[in-house]
Symmetry: C2
Subunit: 216 residues, 2 copies
């Protein structure tokens, strides 16, 4: 089960794992929220801690070494279930579910609660950049020109309120190993932050793609 080796998992087996680990991880997300917001004190917290530690110890009896990585099926479909933004099994991920629309734009509607706070009532500026990095990278990947983030610039137009939000990203242009993507986050009062990213195809992947330049 190395990080890059394909696993021989059928679509049905992947769906089964989704149905098992998806709701469990969601329950842990709820616990993370309740841990921050509870005003209970003393023994209640001590007991909760003991129960959480017991669950953790049970889960750790059999676990992967190190990080999750990206698991590929033999069909080449990646499952980034550990990813900090979209990971099905990662309780710190909101998680975003990003789709690509007919115009090749990456789009995600999502909700950010109390644990994503920076300034009071607002999404942390760094969480704004975290979400934008992910969705710009998705747009780049969907264009057939995957790449690692080279430069990311975020312009904050207004505070992003906690709650329901939308993120969008698209390819602006490409040149050689570089792809330029743009995107933004939209809140109830319009665009809150804009992003521009330069994504660079890693050296090891340059022979794997022959996608033509875009927008030149």
């Amino acid at each position: 089960m190395s990080r890059f080796q394909p696993e021989d998992l059928s679509a049905a087996e992947i769906a089964r794992q989704q149905e098992l680990y998806g709701p469990f991880t969601q329950a842990v997300r709820e616990l993370v929220d309740a841990t921050l917001r509870t005003t209970l004190e003393g023994d209640v917290i001590g007991e909760a801690q003991a129960q959480v530690e017991a669950v953790t110890a049970r889960l750790r009896e059999q676990q992967i070494e190190g990080a999750y990585g990206v698991h590929y099926s033999h069909e080449g479909r990646g499952r980034a279930w550990g990813n900090a933004v979209i990971g099905l099994r990662n309780a710190i991920a909101p998680p975003l579910s990003i789709t690509t629309d007919a115009d090749q734009r990456a789009v995600a509607d999502f909700h950010l609660g109390a644990v994503y706070e920076g300034p009071p009532g607002l999404v942390h500026g760094g969480v704004v950049s975290l979400v934008l990095d992910q969705i710009l990278g998705h747009a780049v990947g969907a264009s057939g020109r995957p790449g690692m983030t080279g430069t990311l610039t975020i312009v904050y137009r207004q505070g992003t309120p906690l709650g329901g939000l939308r993120a969008e990203a698209w390819i602006d242009r490409s040149a050689g190993v570089k792809t330029f993507a743009k995107g933004h986050i939209i809140g109830p009062d319009g665009v809150t932050a804009e992003a521009e990213g330069v994504f660079v195809l890693p050296r090891w992947a340059r022979s794997l793609t022959d996608a033509p330049d875009i927008g030149n």
Copy 2:
């Protein structure tokens, strides 16, 4: 207990709350890690989910409405315990403990595990920007010229490996309501990412500061 109103908490009371909620939140962080990394299946996961849901239900019997905000003591010391990067009570925060050294540089040594992953084995590029936004903001705040992030630019020099890392930030210059901060993250092989941020003093705070420009 409004977000901006001071609470009448003594230093001893704050320390007591730290000792109660700090270890509990750390236990939840461990659970988040184990939730991602376990390879156990079936009933074990179902039972773990039921136990987690029971703890959450108990904690939610008494909780704040909405997000945590920043609580101020009467001495004006803020406690951003809900913050997504430094929050003592936020299980998605690593959390960073940022100090200001003799040269007014903001410095933090921290560890990022499996849940902060993007590319296999590497810190998510957006998590890199999340950490840098926080530490640049800290340097700006420590200079006596607090501000909201206006623009943040991250240049990724190399992949940031999961594990032990250091972040540093400092004020480059200031002009009027704008403060320009710089920073970087250092991994085992040197600087992995550099940041430059422009921080803008919010309108409501402009009368509260008379700090002179820096570096002009």
